[in-house]
């Protein structure tokens, strides 16, 4: 049985994931077996400092949170490119082109900086 090295390197991760899931599910299942369950109306009430809940809990979410999510997507994508670039810079074959590569990255970051400054000026990082 010959399995390519690529798969065998990642195989432990699959095993670890299965073990982690088994631990979480197993512990909860063992607890559910012995946990008592005696519900009553007051006990089941959502906690709101002791008073009956005033309104539905699923309130409208501030648009700020969506803004943060959008900015995160943008910057995280670009982080992926930078991480790959950082490894490439050390490739021995590209030793002569290092300053060219850094220049390219500076152009890339300059484009990003424009967007970043725009978001800053628009107040995307302000919370009131």
């Amino acid at each position: 049985m010959d399995i390519p090295a690529v798969y065998t390197a990642y195989w432990p991760v699959v095993l670890a994931a299965a073990a982690a899931l088994a631990f979480a599910v197993g512990t909860l299942a063992a607890w559910l077996l012995i946990a008592p369950r005696r519900p009553n109306a007051v006990k089941q009430e959502p906690y709101e400092c002791g008073i009956p809940p005033l309104a539905p809990a699923r309130i409208q979410i501030s648009v700020k949170y969506y803004l943060v999510a959008l900015l995160f997507l943008l910057f995280d994508m670009e982080t992926m490119f930078i991480l790959a670039w950082a490894i490439t810079l050390r490739e021995p074959e590209l030793a002569g082109a290092r300053f060219f590569l850094i220049g390219e990255m500076l152009v890339f970051i300059a484009f990003l900086a424009v967007g970043y400054l725009y978001a800053w000026r628009k107040g995307a990082f302000e919370w009131n």
Partner: protein
């Protein structure tokens, strides 16, 4: 008996040891935190159960097993039950790439002291560790409770904001080491403490440390569960073993994050003096000892911070992440890239980083002071 089966069995044994270490660290860290916080606040801390309060967390854990299974009215039944599992699983999986010692040879077989060792292990760690945020958001949203919802939202926004700094601050290490492989990064730092990445990348180290504290929701960045504002945050409606899952994931992520900080910046399993590892099991144990010592020091540091610093306000938290740490991470990246391309020695890198830290501290404190004075 083929190779693949043996390989799988060794891996399963390693998983048992590593998960045991991570989960077993939880009661120890919890007790250490309660004891140390007690002493910092001039009170004894837990001292009733067992000698010196040593059995306190074990008794607490046993008690939780007999707690009632409460599912409040109006929760989303599926996601409410799923969320604790989604929070603890990624933390455990992310522990699988940490090298706990140098490679050892047992019975003629070379064994890496990490569950998984592949080219992209550092990237894998970031990818998996962040998945916990799904569980937190789902817990907050499905609980039918305003506190939970706010806690879940705050948590996701905070993790998003600091995730970028976290992954950008390691670019310096990637540039100096040239690899994503955690075992290789740890091995490169052998030969005494002056070879540790911490001295090569002081700015990256501080940025990573701050972002890591924010990622694991520790004081001063513990807004997702700010108990004085949000009751319990995203786990307000959770009790019994489901609550313990959140609690465990929080403390085991402290352990896992500490071990990654130690591996990336503090030399990993290498002792602080020059030492050439052999391949016997004893050398593996020496490596494990030094890694655990560094993790212990970092955990103490986290507890110390909790005993010392007040919590940040939410707008301050966002400002720090987006307006200060993010530009600094970019600065670190560019300067490191140029110095690496110039092939200048490591101490130049280190001094540049320290200088950048000092300048940043002066500038930021000036700006904040002026602003505060203008506000009156």
């Amino acid at each position: 008996m083929n190779e693949f089966l043996i390989y799988s069995l060794i891996t399963i044994a390693k998983i048992g040891v590593v998960f045991g270490l991570v989960i077993g660290s939880v009661p120890v860290v919890v007790l250490a935190e309660r004891k140390l916080l007690g002493w910092m606040q001039v009170r004894p801390g837990p001292n009733r159960v067992g000698p010196w309060g040593l059995l306190q967390t074990l008794v607490d854990a046993a008690k939780v097993f007999f707690k009632e299974n409460i599912i409040p009215d109006g929760v989303e039944p599926l996601t409410y039950r799923l969320a604790p599992i989604l929070v603890i699983t990624p933390v455990l999986i992310s522990a699988s790439v940490i090298p706990f010692g140098p490679p050892v040879t047992i019975a003629g077989r070379e064994i890496t002291l990490a569950i998984a060792d592949f080219d992209l292990s550092l990237l894998f760690f970031f990818a998996v560790a962040t998945l916990s945020v799904y569980g937190i958001v789902l817990a907050g949203w499905s609980s039918n409770n305003k506190w939970s919802l706010m806690g879940g939202l705050r948590s996701s926004a905070q993790m998003f904001s600091y995730e970028i700094t976290l992954s950008l601050s390691i670019v310096g290490i990637l540039l100096t080491s040239g690899t994503f492989r955690l075992t290789a990064i740890a091995a490169q730092q052998a030969g005494g403490f002056w070879h540790w990445n911490m001295f090569l990348q002081p700015l990256g180290f501080v940025l990573f440390l701050l972002a890591a504290i924010a990622e694991v929701n520790r004081t001063p960045f513990d807004l997702p569960e700010a108990e004085s504002e949000l009751t319990g945050g995203f786990h307000t409606e959770y009790s019994g073993m489901r609550f313990v899952m959140f609690y465990m994931s929080e403390y085991s992520s402290v352990f896992v994050m500490s071990s990654v900080i130690a591996t990336l910046f503090l030399g990993g399993y290498n002792p602080p003096f020059p030492y050439t590892f052999g391949t016997s099991w004893f050398d593996g144990a020496i490596g494990l000892f030094w890694l655990l010592a560094k993790i212990g020091a970092l955990v103490f540091f986290f507890i110390w911070l909790r005993g010392t610093l007040p919590r940040l306000r939410y707008d301050e938290l966002m400002m720090l992440g987006w307006k200060i740490l993010l530009p600094l991470a970019f600065l670190n990246l560019i300067v490191t890239a140029i110095l690496v391309a110039l092939n200048w020695p490591g101490w130049v890198l280190g001094l540049t980083g320290v200088a950048a830290l000092i300048v940043t501290d002066l500038v930021v404190s000036q700006i904040l002071w002026r602003r505060r004075r203008a506000a009156g």
